[in-house]
């Protein structure tokens, strides 16, 4: 302590000196006890008040009174600051009422305090998705998956990963989707519904072989099921196995005749098989006939789509197609003619898809599947 230079002074009597210090420390001890007692009383009261507000909010939320629930939860958070349950409930309620920015602010405050909070990270990810920032949301989904959860025994990380894969599927990020599905396949519960969901997601990720494996496993373990057959059929379509797909959809339709979607897919597969010139066991004549039919459909579709305006620039291609359709090739030159027809059909289809990415007419539906098979 800087002060006057008086190292010696008329000191207090030793008894007074020690007595004063003893009194001070006694007072400090008593005050500490008093303070701690008052503080604990206050904390307990605040906790009770906050819990009561929280319970009221949950009840309001159950009755779909979102804005009132938000009010109670805000009061609960203000009453017992730092309670993660109330903070997360508030953020969720704010998200539920569309107050996304406020929800994000609440969760951000929580994450600033506890960056590994899995539930808060998941809420942040949801808020970011709602704000149209899916790429930022992905990293929060990862923090949610690998973060800390109050209930470590629960399946929250798996649910978070499901939300993430759904997002990635919506974004069309097939590679990232596949990367998330591989661990999910091991982590997820082994029930039929979850496995079906994962198999469908594998399909979306461009991994039909894994989807087929799961569907077949399900059929082995759980017996015949229309939905599983339908999923398997879709996976077989993705792999270009239309005959297998037809059998699967037929099985699905047999099990659930009322399912019109399955019936439609079965019809489509049948039409694909009927149009596909690369099917095994077809005669040369049949192959040629189908190649012409395929070319005819693609030509009509392209001509209708492009219209007169673009005819000039694409004239030679359309002329070639028209000639190929109108002229019957000699038997000796059929294999070359088939190849030429298929090549023309592919080019015309590419042209058509660029010019008119709109939905296909019913007659055109088999074309992309057939061309896909041919390209394989």
């Amino acid at each position: 302590m800087a002060g006057p230079d008086t190292s010696r002074h008329p000191a207090a009597e030793a008894g007074v000196f020690l007595g004063t210090f003893a009194l001070i420390f006694l007072a400090m001890g008593a005050l500490f006890g008093f303070d701690v007692f008052l503080a604990s009383l206050e904390r307990a009261e605040r906790r009770n008040e906050a819990r009561s507000l929280y319970e009221e909010a949950m009840s309001l939320e159950a009755r779909r009174h979102g804005p009132q629930a938000v009010d109670r939860l805000q009061a609960a958070v203000a009453t017992e600051r730092g309670n993660p349950v109330y903070q997360r409930a508030l953020a969720a309620a704010l998200l539920g009422t569309g107050r996304v920015a406020e929800a994000r602010a609440v969760v951000a405050a929580r994450l600033e305090h506890e960056p590994t909070d899995g539930a808060a990270s998941l809420l942040m990810a949801r808020a970011l998705v709602r704000e149209g920032r899916p790429r930022e949301a992905v990293s929060y989904y990862h923090r949610a998956i690998y973060g800390q959860w109050d209930d470590q025994a629960g399946d929250h990380p798996v649910q978070a990963r499901f939300e993430l894969v759904d997002l990635l599927a919506r974004l069309g990020a097939r590679r990232e989707l596949l990367a998330e599905l591989l661990p999910l396949q091991d982590e997820a519960p082994d029930d039929q519904t979850t496995r079906k969901r994962i198999a469908k997601l594998f399909l979306e990720a461009g991994a039909p072989a894994r989807a087929i494996e799961i569907f077949r496993g399900l059929l082995r373990e759980h017996g015949r099921d229309a939905e599983t057959y339908a999923g398997l059929g879709e996976a077989e379509i993705a792999r270009g196995n239309y005959l297998s797909a037809r059998a699967d959809f037929a099985a699905a339709a047999g099990l659930d005749p009322a399912d019109t979607a399955v019936a439609d897919r079965l019809t489509l597969v049948r039409r694909v098989i009927a149009l596909d010139p690369t099917q095994r066991g077809l005669s040369g004549e049949e192959q040629y006939r189908r190649s012409v039919a395929l070319l005819d459909i693609t030509y009509r579709s392209a001509a209708d789509c492009i219209g007169s305006a673009a005819l000039t620039s694409n004239g030679p291609l359309l002329d070639s197609a028209r000639v190929a359709i109108a002229t019957r090739a000699p038997i000796a030159g059929r294999p070359e003619a088939i190849d030429a027809n298929l090549d023309l059909a592919e080019r015309l289809w590419t042209l058509r898809r660029r010019a008119c990415p709109a939905a296909l007419a019913e007659a055109e539906e088999p074309v992309p599947l057939v061309l896909e098979r041919i390209s394989q």
Binding site: M1, H9, L31, D35, L38
Partner: protein
């Protein structure tokens, strides 16, 4: 030698070495004051929650402050007269005038009276009283342990800083406040002790109450450089708001002080009733209002509400303080600033939403702005907000706004509020510029005892006769209240020439005071013993005579002596021969 013996020997050594003892006491005082202030905060908070709970009836909000003010009014006037008001001017008065002496009775009185006052919803703050409680405890302990006057004085700001650190949860701002406002000297040599006690007290606060900030503030930052215009506007509004508050408070207080002393026990009821009536309709006016500050910082209150709250709080706090309730203006300053800031912020955001932050950011800056304008501690206010937010990015707008408010406040209300309050009580606190660095060239080293006195009813002619026999060319006029003024030989001679020989000195002084437009109760010009001789020379230079009265800071009508030009020159070692008359100065 056993451990106990070693401890006793160390304690005995400590007892004899004052500098070491004072250092140890800085820690002890920090801890003790921290515990006392935490008890004070918890006690007032819990009592307030029971006396006027949220959602309680309007009648309760009307009656509780009125009754609380009545109880404290009786306590203050009967038993604890020194516990009235904020505590900061009282602490400064103790430090500079009473050798750091604050009685234990005052500490107790401040604790209990403020607990009752604040718990009953009186719109005043707890920080100022906490400062006096902390400083008082430091003073009591230091004197009890037999420390010298210098060390007792040096421990007073140490206790004050510890109290503020615990009351406001801002240890650095507490250190600065102690140096900037209480000591009036940022280079004070007690910095180390103040830091120690502040840090200790803050640790105690956190030990008991946890790591919970006083206000919960989002991270705000400057949205666009053009936003500084809005912050400058906030500086202007904050400055004008500060001046309005200070002038209203001082004006009302002057009015209350002029009422008969016998009514002093009843006067606080006027403040209690004012805040009670307001609280009946607008509950947020009651108490220190930090929960509403928290809400406005989060941007939760709408424009109309913040304007109403700012106006009502200015009136309520001014009325409560001026009527003599126990409580500080630190808290109300922050409340007023937050509301004014939120109002400016809301308007700015309405006009230019893309260029400005939300009202919460302005409320935050407004707190510092009002503090700079009202308390006039600009550096403390900047650091305080920085400590509250722990965010550096708001500092530039804060500094701009603070400086504007400080400048406006200084121009429109030259005397800082704590000095003005002390002056209303007849206590002249030394300002920083008049605080001499060297004891050698203080007035006390040159002053001489009073030469005798002239009663005010003596006739001009007789007074001139007596003055002609003196070595001094001016004499004090003393009435039953003390020093009434000074009369100079030349002035008396002019009066005699004008044929006013039989007129009394009282009439002469009254006419002069009226002519100069001065307050009749303050004999000017005068000096205090701790003034510098340079100032004495400056003041003598403005007078037609060579004598200045030296009066007490505690009571400016108590004459302690006089100082002459000759005395000053002698102190500087350049004395000239006396101009005649008797050496004693007696006629």
């Amino acid at each position: 030698m056993t451990t106990v013996q070693r401890i006793l020997r160390w304690l005995d050594e400590l007892r004899r070495k004052e500098s070491q003892l004072a250092l140890v006491l800085s820690l002890v005082i920090g801890a003790l004051v921290g515990l006392v202030v935490v008890a004070f905060i918890l006690l007032t908070g819990r009592l307030a929650a029971r006396l006027y709970p949220a959602g309680g009836s309007g009648w309760r909000r009307l009656l509780v402050p009125t009754l609380g003010a009545l109880i404290t009014g009786i306590l203050l006037s009967r038993w604890f007269p020194d516990a009235r008001g904020s505590g900061v001017p009282q602490t400064k008065a103790a430090l500079f005038i009473r050798d750091g002496i604050i009685s234990f009775r005052t500490v107790l009185g401040k604790f209990f009276c403020c607990s009752v006052t604040l718990a009953s919803g009186i719109a005043l703050g707890r920080e100022g009283p906490a400062v006096q409680i902390g400083a008082g405890l430091a003073s009591v302990i230091a004197r009890r342990l037999g420390l010298s006057k210098e060390y007792v004085r040096s421990l007073v700001p140490v206790g004050g800083a510890a109290a503020l650190a615990a009351a406001f949860n801002t240890p650095i701002a507490a250190v600065l406040f102690s140096l900037e406002e209480i000591m009036g000297d940022l280079h004070a040599p007690i910095l180390g002790s103040v830091v120690l006690s502040s840090a200790t007290s803050w640790m105690v606060l956190h030990l008991v109450l946890g790591d919970e900030p006083l206000f919960h503030v989002s991270a705000y930052h400057l949205i666009h450089p053009l936003e500084l215009i809005a912050y400058a506007a906030l500086g202007v509004v904050g400055g004008l708001g500060s001046v309005s508050f200070v002038k209203l408070l001082l004006g009302l207080r002057r009015w209350f002080l002029e009422l008969p002393r016998a009514t002093s026990w009843l006067q606080p009821v006027a403040g209690g009733l004012t805040v009670g009536v307001m609280g009946y309709f607008v509950p947020q006016v009651l108490g220190v209002g930090y929960s509403d500050v928290d809400r406005v910082l989060a941007g939760d209150l709408v424009l109309k509400v913040v304007i109403i709250l700012a106006v009502l709080k200015i009136i309520a706090a001014a009325a409560c303080y001026a009527s003599g309730n126990a409580g500080g203006i630190f808290g109300p300053s922050l409340f007023i600033g937050a509301m004014l800031g939120a109002a400016v912020g809301s308007i700015a955001h309405l006009i230019a939403p893309g260029y400005t932050a939300g009202p919460g950011a302005y409320a935050l800056v407004g707190m510092g702005t009002a503090f700079a304008g009202i308390v006039r501690a600009p550096l403390t206010s900047v650091i305080m907000i920085f400590e509250l937010t722990r965010d550096y990015t708001i500092i530039v707008p804060l500094m701009l706004s603070n400086l504007i408010a400080y400048f406006i406040s200084q121009r429109m209300q030259p005397q800082p509020i704590y000095e003005a309050l002390a002056r209303q009580d007849g206590v002249h606190l030394p300002t920083g510029e008049f605080r001499p660095r060297s004891a050698r060239f203080r007035v006390i080293s040159a002053m001489r005892p009073p030469p005798g006195s002239l009663p005010p009813d003596v006739a001009v002619g007789e007074a001139l006769t007596r003055l002609r026999e003196s070595t001094l060319d001016a004499w004090p006029v003393i009435d039953k209240g003390g020093l009434a003024g000074m009369v100079a030989k030349a002035e008396l001679e002019a009066a005699v020439e004008a044929g006013r020989t039989e007129q009394s000195l009282a009439t002469l002084l009254r006419e002069r005071t009226a002519r100069q437009g001065l307050m009749p109760t303050i004999p000017v010009p005068h000096l205090h013993p701790d003034h510098s001789l340079t100032l004495a020379l400056e003041r003598l230079g403005t007078l037609p005579h060579d004598v200045l009265p030296v009066v007490s800071r505690e009571n400016v009508r108590r004459l302690l002596g006089v100082v002459t030009l000759q005395d000053i020159l002698k102190a500087y070692g350049v004395a000239r021969p006396a101009r005649g008359g008797t050496k004693s100065g007696r006629p």
